[in-house]
Amino acid sequence: MSTHLVGQRVKRLEDPDLLSGRGQFVDDLNLPGMLHAAFVRSPVAHARIQNIDISEAAALPGVHIVWTARDLPANMHNRRLLLQVPNPAILHTITQEPLASKETCFVGEPIAVVVAESRHLAEDACERVNVEYKPLPVSPDCETALKPGAAVAHMEFQDNIAAQFTLGYGDVEAAFRAADHVFQDNYFQHRGTANPMEGRGVVAVFDPIFHNFTVWSATQSPFIIRRMLVDMFEVEESTIRVVAPKDVGGGFGPKGMSYPEEVVIPALARELSRPVKWIEDRREHFLTTTQERDQLWDVSIAVDNDGKIRGLRGRLAHDAGAYVPWGIITPYISTTTIAGPYVVPAFKFDTTAVFTNKPPTTPLRGAGRPQAVFAMERTLDLVAQELDIDRAEIRRRNLIPAEEMPYKMGLIFRDGAPVIYDSGDYPKCQAIAVERACYNDFPARQKEAREDGRYIGIGIANAVEGTGLGPFEGASIKIAPSGRIVLQTGAAPQGQAHHTTLAQLCAEELNVPIESVDIVTGDTNAVSLGVGTFASRIAVNAGSSVKIASRTVYGKLMKLAATVLQVREDDLEMEDGVIRITGEQGDSVTFSDLAKMMNGVPGFKLPEGIEAGLEATSYFQPSQAAYSNGCHIAEVEVDPETGLVSILRYIVAHDCGNLINPMIVDGQVQGGVAHGVGNALLEHLYYDADANPVTTTFAEYLLPTAESVPDVEILHLETPTPNNPLGVKGAGEGGTLPAAAVIAAAIEDALRPFGVRFRDAPILPHQIIEKIAVANQ
């Protein structure tokens, strides 16, 4: 048997357990003596905390402890959570306290915590914690927050400006002066949520003998949490083990952050010497898990008569929410993404991150890019309309030609390196999407439909995405004495099938069946350093590390086998855990034999020139991001009476380099589009004028269902990146990036007879009806 696994649609190793009810999610952990926590959360968006009375709650039978900020361990007083990604452009580096002490800055901020025999009892007690609030003026949204004299989101600041920066290149003034035309418009994409089907959750144990913490969290980033805990508890790294359970029920970005509960629960476990569990309920998820997308864009474009772009400039106001736990990564990515796959000779954007009294915003599937793509693609549609050029054609004229790769676009990315699109053929990617969609025949189809009284429309949009950012994600490979292969990585999966793809890479290198690989993910004890699963970075970083470490182990195995069998390495072949001398009846030695030998026999020397242990660890460091790209085309039908939009066809032409497992990549793209459909047509977090959330259930905040998500037709280009040994680029977010833009464009096209334009997403049925009504007046 020769093992060829990479590039194959290998069935997932994860599935049999998940399909049989044997998943291991955080709430499935049940430890002896475990107690349950519930939090008292602020019911107001901005207030001074005057007084907290816990006496009634603490007296309830079954309650073990009630804590407010002042009961936290002494070293945590007046301390805030670690700012994980600092940046000099941040003017106020404010993050949450573990429990708010004097001021609460959004609805849902934790004020007190109760630990009891059961969650039911803990919640009963929470209702008996009496907090007196003195309401303060509220900063409700990023537009209002920037007005002179606006209410401030934090008492200690004079205004709401969290950060400010300008990015640019080229002579923008000259470009705008010289251009034949300048067009301007404003765009807004609303706040949405991650809403993975499993919420957050933490279980913590403190071992009083070794003074060690073990913390399980439904997280994307165990190492990020460990950093925060090391900082908060002021202890050594070696005393904190953070584990993402084998199964985490979706993440999409916000589970990559570190949260107050991840500090408070371990502190309680230490205080009580009992395991403590907290599981986020859905309402808490709506209130407290970080969100994204509120951005107000003001975009001006300078173009020539033929639609060629000369320059792009404008302003971006980004709603940071109440705190900046992840710095300004999101608005920074937005600003560096807007020029996208197009040749933009001159560029200047002023970006402001603004505090509001709402949950903090941090990267959520797409991480600031969907808004940028929306702003750019809506701008190009505007130009196309004004200059009467077809929408695919105007894009074709401006796409970066394949011959210009690698293409230095002019800006500096968040990793500090210049943005260099490493590879890709953007015009070809658009061309294959156009062909598959029968785009050029669409006007005829549209005409026919209109004659039947049906309103159909088509939209097209492109996007580029910097993926696979460093610094690294490590992996170690070891041959166990049994001969099985142990693959360990700090990277934590939430449905992306890391077990399968990483095992594919390892098994291919060592020429064993994939079932011979045992995988440990998401454990800070697995490897000594780690970052986290976000920004479509694991295939690139951990995948490359697995390949490199596997090759090293392969080299050790061969060298050792050659010594043992007393032949040259060239005379050996490796298959299925056995290394044998090539030829009919050659002698052989198994991985198990070699592993036992390398574990060392007391008193005996290892063979000359061979390092102890059949294992290797690698921390691959990509030189820079690898850029994926894609072209989306959507065809929709709109009912102008009801405002209902049905997606008739959805085409994605996508290039994420080499595919390790095409089935899994297709799943990522399809799932990404589904998220984009939500952003385009359904998901709108509403707040009232005082920043009280009014959409806190799945009945009020609608997620895409099987009836609203189309079957995506996926076409792959595979342009390998030179930036890593696998030639892969990230695939986790590309499906989401252009989705809102392309659906908005298709709706607008369908409703062309009414002459309406859409500048915001999501586009809800009542908004369609209102726009048509206004246009008809």
Binding site: S20, G250, M663, G667, Q670, V673, T697, P704, V712
Partner: protein, 164 residues
């Protein structure tokens, strides 16, 4: 909580008889997960919309989060743990999910399998539109549903062909 709130509940789960005492406010899903330690049934919203908690009660699908444990008294419950014929095998529907990439994180999956178990029993030869309608009460945030629908169609065909 007072002792008066405690009730005897006697029921079968996947054919196994259980006799337990439970508080009246406990949901069936909490009861299965935390009393019987059958953690395959998941809670995604606890307000009846996401469908992750779907189990069969006397053969009909119910929301485990909106059903009280006491309502299952004297009844039979089927959960995801009862689907596979043996520890090491999968049933036709589960196998179809594996082959058609019908899951990613797997959190929604138990509820979806139970919804489809009932649906395919009642409608062995469904159209894709009917499958999507049947799934409209189950939310999956990861997959975008394509693999789930394909798995349901595949399982329906295999079940028809095998005469099950």
């Amino acid at each position: 909580m007072t002792d008066g709130d405690m009730h005897e509940v006697s029921l079968t789960v996947n054919g196994v008889q259980y006799d337990e005492t439970v508080e009246s406010r406990w949901s069936l899903a909490d009861f299965l997960r935390h009393k019987l330690r059958l953690t395959g049934t998941h809670l995604g919203c606890e307000h009846g919309v996401c469908g992750a908690c779907t189990v069969l009660l006397n053969g009909r699908s119910v929301r485990g989060c909106l059903t009280l444990a006491v309502q299952a008294n004297e009844k039979s419950v089927e959960t995801v743990e009862g689907l596979a014929p043996t520890e090491t095998e999968l049933n036709v529907l589960q196998q179809a999910f594996w082959e058609n990439h019908g899951l990613q994180c797997g959190f929604c999956t138990p509820g979806i399998l139970m919804t489809l178990t009932e649906f395919l029993r009642d409608n062995p030869d469904p159209s894709e539109t009917e499958v999507r309608e049947a799934l409209s009460g189950n939310i999956c945030r990861c997959t975008g549903y394509q693999g789930i629908v394909a798995a349901a169609m595949d399982a329906a065909e295999k079940l028809r062909n095998s005469g099950q």
